[in-house]
Structure formats: structure tokens, C-alpha cells
């Protein structure tokens, strides 16, 4: 009878479901780890092992039938993708191999550790300038002041766009994000499509500028790249730039905010991290697990298959429920506890898995580590001044605001950064 109750409780396409979803995630894992969600003819996967299996078996599980719950809900309407993206652009997250691999490989060299290392000085400059704007000892909104800005500054540096366009870019990335929110009306969606046309105009003028003065940035690299024996079409150039600029900004915003909130709520761990920066990589990954900015994505089966003994037919779907997989006790003991020293032998699903794993993973890790090292150098601690307001959004776990008060570092609580630097 427990499974019957679950049918009433699992409201995947209602944004309000995500106000308190964890007890349902746990019941799904315990009672129905491959749960049939009838409204979308879709099996919901909540075990870490099963999600990894489905994410990695690209021969079975495909993104071509849609990635977002909001996309597969609107089966009668025009597919949302075509409203915003010229199909000639070939959005690579929606493609299968071998084409997926060909498309993605034009971007991956810009995101490797080696490539990112060449950008360190520039990125540190952007990060430091932002941290400099933080007023200590009074409440500031961390989302507005820092978390929403840094990802755009980094993506802009990576692409080579002019930084004065941060405000516009932020609006576009928010609008793109809203496609997956589940809260937009049809009229609002049409407004978003209009904004996208403006964004395309912006990029076209940027491309002209870069052609006159090429650099070592990603836009210049893309302008020079070839695919199918030709230079990239405008539709493809716009696709790549839109994805880099928009897809990583809101998700990274959530992560940076989630990490600030988690550390504020666990001041002993904030102090521990401050004193021992060698913990920073595991702290960032724990924040990713804890926050899971993108809750999950859809796959459609190309062939009949079986997951944990459950037969699933070609054409049916699965939901890779990362948010649930990230609290799977079989992988993360005591999963509801935030622990910056947590063993990272099996990685979280915050970036997904398989060939469609987040292309920005290494950039995000670098960005969060850089920001939090600077914050912990500059400030000895921070606290919540008020309860942060959660977003109402099917896909994204995030916050409208996060009021924090930062306490400046002084000689009584020296940062460990110089010691850590000497040790490394």
C-alpha cells in the first residue's frame, strides 16, 4: 500500500513539490527505486548506481526525446526548443553519438585543466574585484552581489565577450533558465523567445568584432574551427555561445549560494576549511552534492532495456533524478549531513555522468575554490542574517536571495592561506 501512496505524493511537475522533496526521495529509494510515473510514461530513477548506468549507456538512453520535464509535458504544443534555437544550430546536449561527440569536441579543449590554468590570472582578477565589493559587518544579498555575477564574469572571460554586457547576459541566462521552471505562461514563453532574438543579434556583432581582432578566447577558437569540413555556421556559433553563457550561469549561481549557506549553517566546518585549505576540493564537491543545482534530466529509450529488474520499452522515458541520487545512503553514508571531509571516492551526480556530463565541471570546481579561498582569506566567517528564499523551479535548486553578514579577518584569526601555499 506504500507504493499506492507514493503515486499521490510524487508530483514531479509541480514546482511546490520541491519545497520538501527529501522524504519522498528517500521513500522512492527504499520502496520503488525504479518508479513508474504514469503522467509522463516515465520511470523515475533515484538510486545513484541506476542513474549512472542510464547516464553512461548512451546506446540505450538518449536525450533526443527531450531533456527537461517541462519539455516532455507540453506534447501538444510546439516543441520549446524550436521557439528559441534554430534547429540548424544542433544543440549538442540533445544529440546522440557520433554527432554529439563531434559537436562537443569543439568546446572541450577550452574546459580542460590545462586550458583553464592559462586563464588563472584573468579569472583571479575578476574574482578579486567582486570580493572587493563585499561590505563587511552588514547584511548583503550574496546572490545579487556575488553568486549571480561571478559565473557570468568567468563565462564572459572564457568566451571573450566584453564585460560591460554582464547585465544583459544575466537577463538572458535567467530567461533561458525559466524555460525549465514550470512556472511560465505561454505569453511569457513568447517574450523569452523575443529576448533570445536580441541575444543572437548581440553575438553576431561580437563575432564581427572578433573576426577583426581575434584572440586566444573561445569565441575566436570557434570562429576558426571547422566541422563537416567547413567553418561553423552562424546558427552553430550562436548555439555554442548561448550554451556557454547561459547554461552554466544559473546552475553555478546556485552552487556558489548553496556553499555559502551550507558553510554559514555549519560554522565549525567553515572554520575548519579556513584553517586547512587542502580541504577545499572536497568541500566544493560536498557543496555540489548538497546543492545539486540541476535536479535531474530526462532520457528516452532507444531500445527495450531493464533497470534493476524493471523492464522498460523503447520510447518510454527515464528520469535521472540527480537530487535523489545525491542522497543515496549506499554511496553517501549519513547522506543528509553536510560534511566537507566526506570521502569522494564515488563522485556525486551534481554534474551528471556519462558522455553528457557537465562540460564546465572543471571550470566550476576551479571557480568555487577560487572564490571561497578569497572569501576565507578576506573574512573569518559569515552568518545568515535572514532565511534565504528558495526558488520555485522544477529543474533548478536555488535561491532568490541569501542575506549574509561577513566578518572581516583580523590578526586574532589569521587565514591559513600562506601556510597552505607554502605546503603545496
Amino acid at each position: 500500500m506504500a507504493v499506492d501512496e507514493l503515486i499521490d505524493l510524487v508530483k514531479l511537475v509541480e514546482p511546490s513539490f520541491y519545497e520538501n522533496p527529501v522524504p519522498i526521495y528517500q521513500r522512492l529509494q527504499q520502496e520503488a527505486p525504479v518508479f513508474y510515473y504514469e503522467p509522463l510514461d516515465m520511470y523515475v530513477l533515484t538510486k545513484h548506481e541506476d542513474i549512472r548506468f542510464a547516464a553512461q549507456r548512451k546506446d540505450i538512453f538518449s536525450p533526443t526525446g527531450g531533456l527537461l520535464l517541462t519539455e516532455i509535458m507540453h506534447t501538444e504544443d510546439t516543441p520549446l526548443r524550436e521557439e528559441f534555437f534554430d534547429p540548424a544550430g544542433e544543440l549538442f546536449p540533445y544529440t546522440d553519438s557520433p554527432r554529439h561527440r563531434q559537436l562537443r569536441r569543439l568546446l572541450t579543449p577550452a574546459f580542460t585543466p590545462r586550458a583553464l590554468a592559462t586563464m588563472t590570472a584573468e579569472l583571479e582578477e575578476s574574482c578579486r574585484a567582486l570580493v572587493d565589493t563585499i561590505d563587511a559587518n552588514r547584511p548583503i544579498d550574496f546572490v545579487e552581489a556575488v553568486a549571480s555575477r561571478l559565473p557570468i564574469l568567468f563565462a564572459s572571460r572564457l568566451l571573450g565577450t566584453t564585460s560591460s554586457d554582464v547585465t544583459r547576459i544575466r537577463r538572458w541566462s535567467d530567461l533561458l533558465e525559466n524555460i525549465g521552471s514550470g512556472t511560465l505562461t505561454a505569453d511569457e514563453l513568447h517574450d523569452v523567445a523575443q529576448e533570445f532574438k536580441e541575444m543572437s543579434v548581440f553575438f553576431l556583432s561580437e563575432f564581427d568584432r572578433k573576426r577583426q581582432h581575434p584572440g586566444s578566447d573561445l569565441m575566436s577558437t570557434l570562429l576558426d574551427a571547422t566541422l563537416d569540413g567547413e567553418k561553423l555556421s552562424e546558427a552553430k556559433l550562436i548555439m555554442y555561445c548561448t550554451l556557454v553563457l547561459a547554461v552554466g550561469t544559473d546552475t553555478t549561481r546556485s552552487l556558489l549560494t548553496g556553499m555559502a549557506i551550507a558553510l554559514a549553517r555549519h560554522p565549525d566546518q567553515l572554520a575548519q576549511l579556513r584553517a586547512d585549505r587542502s580541504l577545499m576540493p572536497t568541500a566544493v564537491d560536498e557543496a555540489l552534492r548538497w546543492t545539486t543545482p540541476a535536479r535531474g534530466f530526462v532520457r528516452t529509450l532507444l531500445t527495450d532495456a531493464e533497470v534493476r529488474g524493471q523492464k522498460i520499452r523503447a520510447g518510454q522515458r527515464v528520469y535521472l533524478f540527480y537530487a535523489a541520487g545525491n542522497i543515496d545512503p549506499d554511496v553517501f553514508p549519513d547522506p543528509l549531513t553536510f560534511d566537507i571531509t566526506r570521502d569522494q571516492d564515488i563522485s556525486h551526480l551534481g554534474f551528471g555522468f556519462g558522455p553528457h556530463i557537465c562540460i564546465g565541471a572543471q571550470l566550476v570546481r576551479m571557480e568555487a575554490a577560487m572564490l571561497y579561498n578569497m572569501l576565507l582569506d578576506r573574512f573569518s566567517s559569515w552568518e545568515l542574517a535572514a532565511e534565504p528564499r528558495r526558488l520555485t523551479h522544477i529543474l533548478r535548486n536555488g535561491w532568490h536571495d541569501a542575506p549574509l553578514v561577513f566578518t572581516p579577518a583580523n590578526s586574532d584569526t589569521p587565514a591559513a592561506n600562506s601556510v597552505a601555499a607554502a605546503r603545496s
Binding site: Q56, T108, T112, P113, R114, D345, S347, P355, A361, R365
Partner: protein, 66 residues
């Protein structure tokens, strides 16, 4: 332990290089490059972690007794 990699699976994400930078790198052509194909014993835990977490399962570890 010996490391084998499969370039037909590798998509050049660099997660392995992030986990064990003295053992893995991503070369200019966008594929994993193994810097020590028989890694030092003290690096084995990180190498195992890199292999487990490779999103496309492009890294295989051959243990010494195999």
C-alpha cells in the same frame, strides 16, 4: 597496477586530470594522456578514483595479479 585508456570512449573532460594531475592530463588533441602508466603505489587510490569517476568509462585498471 597498469593503466589503459580507450580514446574511442574518452571525451576529453579532464576529470581524471583534476583527480590525479601527476598521472593524467588532457593533450592538445583533446584525449586523455597517461603520464605514468604504472603509477607509484601511493597514487593508486587517486588513480582508482579517477577510473571509477570517468564519465565514459575510458580508463581501465589492470591489477598486477591479472
Amino acid at each position: 597496477m597498469r593503466i589503459q585508456t580507450d580514446h574511442s570512449k574518452c571525451t576529453g573532460n579532464g576529470l581524471c586530470a583534476g583527480t590525479a594531475p601527476t598521472v593524467f592530463d588532457v593533450s592538445e588533441d583533446g584525449y586523455v594522456e597517461v603520464l605514468q602508466d604504472v603509477p607509484d603505489a601511493d597514487l593508486e587510490p587517486l588513480v582508482r578514483r579517477a577510473a571509477i569517476n570517468c564519465p565514459t568509462r575510458a580508463i581501465t585498471l589492470i591489477d598486477d595479479d591479472q
